[in-house]
């Protein structure tokens, strides 16, 4: 059975914005799935509809076979949601927030307390249980939302940018935590703007842009479609007035570094040779942008070209 199955999902907001223009998506049970896409693509809208926070305009959604239109309670009980924006009561304590959420799912207090202790400990929040939520740091708030989303032990956990604004150490520990619960059988869908995150966690990704699914596959399949990569070279020697090197496109940067676009399937040895012939020594090299961002930029450019 699919954890999530979406057919022809459309959303038009009352202000006229067409956020989703007919989406089909299947997420298999046990999968760790990434929903990617640039800002405003429609990710949060899709998640909002799945989690009953946004009314859909057309289409079907079913969660573990529970259709939103015919078995809403069944679908809701199967989903845990970590939303993009903080949405808990600022004046309640960590433990109250988690216990109240358990109550809304009909979980008796005694059982809710056991689970709250377990998840808050696993997420490093147990010491903070009596702290009022507005006094938590951003990263703690994110983890609180994860604990809250798990309190009814959902079969599908949906996280909308769970690691936004979280430092690298906590991010890594969140990844380990998510991998662990995924291994224990919970299907996971997450959105992220970090390629590394999708790459290291997710088996399958879908890319959404302007309300349509434009790519679907594994992360490596996706990156394969990028036909060039941009590197920034820190060099000794002047970068202005360099002779062009065939096959590469170079730009001198104001900070004295050199930016080079390298086509896919092209090595970089020849570039280094050509540079040293011109008296430029390469000291270090890095990827210019997050490759995912680069991918999104290509996507936008492609669409603009198609439209023209």
């Amino acid at each position: 059975m699919n954890a999530l199955s979406i057919r022809n999902l459309e959303k038009r907001y009352p202000n006229g914005v067409y956020a989703l223009r007919g989406i089909d998506l299947d997420v298999a049970e046990g999968e760790f799935f990434a929903l990617l896409g640039p800002n405003g693509a429609g990710k949060s809208t899709a998640i909002g509809i799945i989690a009953s926070l946004v009314n859909k305009t057309a289409g079907q959604v079913s969660v573990f076979g529970h259709d939103l239109d015919t078995d809403l309670a069944g679908a809701k009980a199967s989903i845990g949601l970590v939303p993009q924006e903080f949405n808990f009561n600022q004046f309640e304590t960590v433990i109250q927030i988690v216990l109240n959420q358990a109550g809304y799912y009909g979980i008796p207090r005694s059982r809710a307390r056991e689970r709250a202790e377990r998840y808050l400990k696993q997420l490093g929040l147990w010491e903070k249980r009596d702290v009022v939520s507005r006094e938590l740091s951003g990263g703690m708030k994110r983890r609180l939302m994860i604990a809250r989303a798990l309190i009814h032990e959902p079969r599908l956990l949906i996280l909308d940018e769970p690691t936004a604004g979280v430092d690298i150490e906590i991010r890594r520990s969140m990844w380990r935590f998510l991998e662990d619960i995924n291994r224990r059988g919970i299907s996971i869908i997450l959105t992220t703007h970090y390629l590394e995150e999708a790459e290291s966690l997710c088996s399958t990704v879908a890319v959404i842009n302007h309300g349509r699914i434009v790519e679907y596959g594994t992360v490596s399949e996706l990156l394969h479609k990028l036909n060039y990569e941009t590197f920034v070279l820190n060099v000794r020697g002047s970068v202005t007035g360099l002779e062009p090197v065939e096959g590469y496109s170079m730009t001198a940067r104001l900070d004295g570094a050199l930016e080079v676009e390298v086509p896919k399937d092209t090595g970089i040895n020849r570039l280094f040779e050509a540079l040293s012939e011109q008296g430029v020594e390469v000291l270090s090299m890095r990827n210019k942008t997050n490759r995912l961002e680069e991918f999104f930029m290509r996507l936008v450019e492609d669409q603009r070209r198609d439209a023209a």
Partner: protein, 266 residues
Amino acid sequence: MAYGDSAIPTTWWRNWVAFQTILIKEVHRFARIWVQTILPSAITTGLYLLIFGNLIGDRIGVMDGFTYMDYIVPGIIMLSIITNSYGNVVSSFYGTKFQRHIEELLIAPVPNWLILAGYVCGGVARGLTVGVLVTIVAAVFTDLELAHPLLVVLIAILTATVFAIGGFINAIYAKSFDDISIVPTFVLTPLTYLGGVFYSISLLAPFWQGASLLNPILYMVNAFRYGFLGVSDIPVAVAFALIVVFIVGLGGWALHLLNRGTGIKS
């Protein structure tokens, strides 16, 4: 381990736990900020009773056969029940929307009628808490007697329910903090003051007597006063019927708005 399955309770039981959770949370909220929620009414009623009842009341003499103090006490209790039950729900539910933790309820399998019931009962709880406190304050000024105690309790609960639902509807439509004070200031307060809290409408000219009969709060105040003193400007049964009609009408409206997601879901 099959996640979820072991934890699915029967619908009835699940709803009961969810209802308790909302209600307890609501009571915690107004108890935590009691200086804003409970105390003001006790102080204002104390002042009303001191000034109108004690100082001026002696010069007014009797009304419907009672000292002025005794005459106004039931209306003043009712006044605080009305403002507090309304005020509790309108600010709490608006805050829930504004801070977005309404989403905690929307994602969970809580039926809409239960959300409404939870918040309304929270409002009724505050209305009654303040009502009891004000009654105690009033007892300091005069000897209270209850002609029909059961009626007093019943009218208090039902009236609090009407206004708690009213506050809920107000909160659904409210888009800013200003919107949650408009109705209390420009509708509820005038209607309450003109609803026979401080006078018997028999003192009014016939036209204004007729106009007063269009004011629903008049019926509630008078039925409540009947419970205390055994006198009323209107038949108590009419008041009952009216209150029930209001509960059903406003309750249906609130539920309809929730089902449509007005002001909550886009």
